[in-house]
Symmetry: C2
Subunit: 418 residues, 2 copies
Amino acid sequence: MTTMTATQATLEIDQSRLWDALMVMAEIGKTERGGSGRLTLTELDKQARQLFIRWCEEIGCTVTVDRIGNLFARREGKRPDLEPIAFGSHLDTQPKGGRFDGVLGVLAGLEVLRTLHEHDIVTERPLLLVNWTNEEGSRFAPAMVASGVYAGEFTHDYILSRTDRDGVTFAEALRKIGFEGDAAIGEPSFARFFELHIEQGPVLEEEALDIGVVTGVQGMRWYDITFTGQAVHAGTTPLSYRNDALCAASRLIDSLTQHALTHDPDAKVTFGELTIPSSSRNVAPGEVRLTVDLRHTSTEKLDALEIAYFDKLAEAGETYGVMIDQTCIWDSPVVAFNDDNIASVEASAKAHGFGYKKMMSGAGHDAVYISKIKPTSMIFVPCLKGISHNEAEYSSPEQCAKGAQVLCDVVVEHANRV
Amino acid sequence: MTTMTATQATLEIDQSRLWDALMVMAEIGKTERGGSGRLTLTELDKQARQLFIRWCEEIGCTVTVDRIGNLFARREGKRPDLEPIAFGSHLDTQPKGGRFDGVLGVLAGLEVLRTLHEHDIVTERPLLLVNWTNEEGSRFAPAMVASGVYAGEFTHDYILSRTDRDGVTFAEALRKIGFEGDAAIGEPSFARFFELHIEQGPVLEEEALDIGVVTGVQGMRWYDITFTGQAVHAGTTPLSYRNDALCAASRLIDSLTQHALTHDPDAKVTFGELTIPSSSRNVAPGEVRLTVDLRHTSTEKLDALEIAYFDKLAEAGETYGVMIDQTCIWDSPVVAFNDDNIASVEASAKAHGFGYKKMMSGAGHDAVYISKIKPTSMIFVPCLKGISHNEAEYSSPEQCAKGAQVLCDVVVEHANRV
């Protein structure tokens, strides 16, 4: 690590030890192309949890498990009566996921505990390293559901009744791997929360920065649209007689994307799924279904983007004589993280001379739900080409270590504030 | 029928008898919503063929079957040594097809024979009513394959080896229903060919016309395109960093359609199938596959349309930073029908005072292949809203009768030319 200023603690994390832990964990559920596939509450997830518990207990931590499988490794402080400083992320992955998404946040937290243990340092407050169950939502939808239950966003019954593709409930899967714990929902409590995570986007890498000081999470609105025109034969119907649903959808996609690119480079517009229910090469489509995902870091600008979306949608329908049926199926407001947490992350990055920028998270994380009940913020590190949810996901040992170092700084700083 | 001029034969077809024949045939393979489902070489097709043969034999015709199941009903002329005048279409339908596509051409031909029989008229040349096997191509691709074999476009072996979805070959299906006949391919021969068909488009209805004097068939070019960009997360990747394959496809679809609408209202551009191989609501598509169907009545204008397509395609790829791989998978040149046939159809329509226009066919028909070896043309009648390949397909008894009357006129005229 680079030299610290006199005002910062000089406790340094161990880059090799962190990298080794990441690589050992990645052996559990290793995929053909070098990624990780550890769906939540499977036998592989059980093995990952057991390894996590062993590693934590080896350095004197006590692990408790709550009713929905969240793991909390407590390292005692000088003042056990004070609420601990919490940090962590998740060990579950996508079916063909990477070795860093979630895992880095947990194992960098372990590296913080190991560093303290190695130097025989006891903080004032206790520390609490958390592994949240089922962040990915790949096996049991929705995503981030266990941190959501912890934060009171969903009920305990709700999460237990979620089912996977084979009809297995969350409750059954949890019991099968033996991780239905005794701790009540919301226990143990903590004072504040930090989450280190790979960016899952290209910005830090493109700008050659080390650290994202995450100030909040973008607002997000999801829509489903059905365009209904008339299916007609490609050879016999002149263009002027048509009501082509695919032309209308295409007009919307191109025009809204161009509008956003021109007027607001921070706006994010994504059309992820387009289906033609009954399609044939020589039939102009009579019906098209399209999904829309709008995101922005500013509520005001998200509203403006939504107005542009409505305008372009109406114009597309009129241009091609196509009926439109659209619904907003999800509206997730802009989240602002805790200023005190953010300031600590920025100060640490600055003190180490790390290149950094303040940025909003584009994706959801466990920190989103936790931020509703406790002072929370996140730390991002770059990942190769922004690739994530993919076996090719990669952050270098140096990049991971810089993130872990910032995590160590802020955790120790807050744990010594009494 | 309206009164004929003195120069025309006054032989009138029977509207009710024609309509009754259509409705009786439609009982074979009748669908829930009142359409017809008689896939080629099925048990239902066998029943339709048997009914056709019975009806033809009842009025003294002799039916021969060739090696690929084409049916030829011969009504003897005063000069059996001369080549007959042929006319007809097909009795097979789409899986959920209509009662008129193909069937009208065959049963209007039957009505011509019945009218001559009723009036005890014998033409100079023999007459030959044809039911071509597997025009639709729904069970065995490609379409129009049996008229294609007759005309020498495909080999006999080629058609026999075509397989359906269950792996059954054309040869097996043909033998199973007992319609592998003795007549050699290309036998019996004939002097010229007329085909009556519903328009399958909206033009005649929109212009309140009775008859389409079909002068040829549009040229047609089919392309497959793959757009390859980069799949990225909807939340984390700014628009300016993306290479969105769906945006590029959409730009092409909208811009080429608008170009055609503005510059050449006769150009037909259809994007029938669009697929995103691995799609997710919160992922900007990295790959999109698109089909393109370009048609025009003029080879020169079809070439110009193709150039516009290449331009718009390149522009779409550049705009969104997306790679393009495109192939022309089919190129069907513009077909011009026989002038003598066309003149006879126009003269008949005019003589009856029918509203008509000269037009090109947008779809393929058995007449396309036959036109390569014999003087050929087609007669169109309007159908409701241009709907075809659909259970809702409809032409009125009057509309069908007017088409049959023109067919009767031109067949009798040419059969008496020696």
